[in-house]
Amino acid sequence: MKRNPYLKIGLTIIGLLMLITLFAPWLRSADPAQIDAAQLLMPPSSAHPFGTDQLGRDLLTRIIYGARISLSIGFIAMGIAVAVGILLGSLAGFYGRLVDTLIMRCADVMLCFPTFFLILAVVAFLEPSIFNIMAIIGLTSWMGPARLIRGEILSLKEREFIQAERALGASDARIILRHLVPNALGPVLVNATLGISAAILLETGLSFLGLGVQPPVPSWGNILIEAKSTLGVAWWIMIFPGLAILVTILGFNFIAEGLKKIIG
């Protein structure tokens, strides 16, 4: 922690953001969809620090509730990706040969697709619910963690302590889960932190195109669509969600940078 300003700044930003989303109902009104016909497109004021939108909804409230959605999508999607990546990557690295070829060529194929369009295609068939978005983002971003884990395990499995474990009677599963994966987690942690911000950006993009989180549930992406139509008259609807995205991504990237310094 000492002499690691990146980690400090990153953790502060994300920590604050999480506290805000956690205490959202106490900070602002409990209903982000509350319409106030007398307060349409009001610029920032003391009652509405971030202004209101074309339906008179308080923008700050919507951004805070949107943060809940965006952050949970980021974390859960990355959780899925890391879990799948660790599973497939460790199998590929440990067993090698045919298993390795099969899994890693699948990963290569997945990497060839532009993820965003792959997701667009999948979403077109599925209902764009929050759960589906998490699952789809998670299942299309496991390749990075898988490759990292595989690489680490390829070198770790030749280390002597793995042989010692075998001599002590540990099974393959035990060797992978208890001994290889914990030793390989460092680089994956960095990758996963960056992955969270990538997942948040993906979700924002999808929602912006109307294929992500559906209104009236607020997400940073779908607040931005609404901003598009009123851009000429209400700059604040575009600026504030944009800033929220920027600061969040910056926060996660700082954490990743800080972790990288600690680990490597």
Binding site: F161, A164, R166, A167, L168, G169, A170, S171, R174
Partner: protein
């Protein structure tokens, strides 16, 4: 002795597949280890000692294979065992200690975690209980401050300490046979002596057989009941320690002994 030996290796042949080229690392090795006996497998580096030792519980690297021979341990044919039977036997019946203790311990777990894990692996005990047993084991291998060592990571301990901890881990399930592959080679002379004394003492109190691998004939002579000399993958000489050292049969044994006598180490 009329009873069957604990470990009996007959005509063991281990070959490596090096990208198409076949290399015979162990060529018809034949020896046995009796219950409660200390046998020393000695020979120069590259003579096939370690590979023979690993073959005993089928721990050979993936490109090596046992091409013929038989290994019988306590009445079981090891070459016919299934993978589950093997993992059940490793650590519980046959345990190993190795040359470089630090690299044979997992760097991300504490000594206590690793010993407790080995106990849980083969015995049905609660983690709490395993933890207590781990502390007792560390006392048994004469570690002066067991609680501190239990909570330490391998890199925080000295080579001698790590080797003691590893011995504790290997003996956790009271194996019948302990295979020690040059366990003192990386340690300095005083620690080497302490570890050897400790092994001999544990052997007496716990009653296991010891197959000790070394290139050091002085150690071989000091600790063994029987010596087995390997040279270029073959067992060239074996017998009771005194007999082998007094009248070696193979010229390679004679050369080895002479080399040691010349530097006054025997």
């Amino acid at each position: 002795m009329s009873e069957q030996p604990l470990l009996e290796i007959t005509d063991l042949r281990v070959t490596f597949d090096l990208e198409g080229r076949r290399l015979t690392a162990v060529d018809g090795a034949q020896f046995s280890v009796a219950r409660n006996e200390t046998a020393v497998l000695a020979g120069e580096s590259g003579s096939g000692k370690t590979i023979t030792a690993l073959a005993i519980s089928r721990l050979l690297p993936p490109n090596a294979a046992i091409s013929s021979g038989s290994i019988r341990f306590n009445g079981h044919d090891i070459l016919r065992m299934s993978q589950e039977e093997l993992t059940g036997m490793r650590g519980k019946e046959i345990a190993y200690i190795f040359q470089e203790p630090v690299s044979f311990l997992n760097p991300v777990f504490t000594i206590g975690d690793q010993i407790a894990e080995t106990i849980v692996l083969h015995q049905r005990v609660a983690p709490q209980q395993a933890r207590r047993q781990a502390a007792q084991l560390l006392e048994q291998v004469r570690i002066p401050d067991p609680q501190r060592v239990l909570a330490s990571y391998p890199h925080q301990l000295s080579g001698g300490m790590n080797q003691r901890a590893f011995i504790a881990m290997s003996l956790a399930c009271q194996p019948r046979l302990l295979v020690a592959d040059e366990p003192t080679t990386s340690l300095d002379v005083t620690i080497e002596r302490e570890i050897l004394d400790l092994l001999m003492e544990l052997k007496k109190s716990l009653g296991f057989s010891l197959l000790f691998i070394t290139h050091n004939l002085a150690i071989a002579r000091k600790i063994s009941d029987r010596v087995i000399i390997m040279f270029q993958g073959k067992v060239v000489d074996q017998g009771a320690t005194d007999t082998v050292f007094r009248c070696p049969r193979h010229h390679h044994t004679r050369e080895l002994i002479q080399a040691y006598e010349k530097i006054g180490k025997l």
